[in-house]
């Protein structure tokens, strides 16, 4: 689970606040979308440029 960390300077207490299910779902969806975008870029194939036949003199 993703979380936030909060330090109360008055008490010195450090608390870890877990994401709510909705926040976690949104974060997971964003991560999945980013991974999909990165995968799509990796799989893009660049077509080779056809060579132009040399002209005989």
């Amino acid at each position: 689970m993703t979380h936030r960390i909060v330090v109360d300077l008055q008490t010195g207490v450090t608390t870890q606040v877990e994401y709510t299910p909705e926040e976690q779902a949104a974060h997971d969806a964003a991560v999945a979308a980013q991974q999909a975008a990165e995968t799509a870029v990796t799989e893009t194939v660049t077509e080779p440029v056809a060579e132009t036949p040399e002209t005989q003199p």
Binding site: T2, H3, R4, I5, V6, V7, D8, L9, Q10, T11, G12, T14, Q16, H27, A30, V31, Q34
Partner: protein, 207 residues
């Protein structure tokens, strides 16, 4: 020898008591050789002709930035006029920027005027309105530096940011301001996009 006189007030009805603390040791409080009024700690008062040495800067608690998406400090006292957020080789999992947000009761997420850059040779600059920007560009950034927040007056806070990359020869800088809806009591460092913290720590100083 001089004397000590304790004088009551004929117009008053209250009883004023000199009380000692619970202590096994003996102490002496020396009265000032002047006609004056002693200062207590119960009210806001103005001191004149006093020299205060070693005005203190209060340090918070260092917190690891090795997980999660936000690390914040709450309970900043209302008298704080200068707040310094210290970054100790903070790193995130991705290539996205970091933000510092401040607030009063809750974090302010709009209304910032903030521009920052990172540079190896030429700078890469960006402006945002949802926090004080720490411009970053890749997951290998290990950022060390300090962001200073200065109270301009009322609830207007001015920000300066300066840092360096400990493993990529980059320099980071920025500046901005924001007006809060109330007295500042918190500050947090957050990741953006899908990034999470994966190294370093932060701390806070206030004065």
């Amino acid at each position: 020898m001089s004397s000590v006189a304790i004088t009551g007030n004929a117009a008053g009805a209250g009883v004023f008591t000199l009380a000692s603390p619970n202590s096994a040791s003996s102490f002496t409080a020396t009265l000032p050789a002047a006609t004056t009024t002693l200062v207590g700690t119960d009210a806001t008062q103005t001191l004149t002709n006093k020299t205060i040495q070693g005005g203190s800067i209060t340090s918070g608690t260092s917190v690891a930035t090795t997980s999660g998406t936000a690390v914040g400090f709450t309970g900043i006292p209302s008298w704080a006029k200068r707040i310094t957020l210290l970054l100790n080789v903070v790193s995130t999992s991705g290539a996205n920027n970091l933000l510092v947000q401040i607030g009063s009761g809750s974090y302010t997420t709009t209304g910032y005027v903030s521009t920052a850059f990172y540079a190896t040779v030429g700078p890469s600059t960006q402006s945002v309105t949802n926090g004080f920007l720490i411009r970053a560009d890749n997951a290998s950034n290990n950022i060390a530096g300090a962001m200073t927040l200065l109270n301009f007056g009322a609830n207007l806070w001015v920000e300066t940011w300066l840092g360096g990359g400990t493993n990529n020869n980059q320099v980071y800088a920025g500046g901005g301001l924001v007006t809060l809806s109330g007295v500042l009591d918190r500050v947090q460092l957050i990741t953006t996009s899908t990034d999470t913290f994966d190294a370093g720590s932060i701390n806070i100083l206030y004065e």
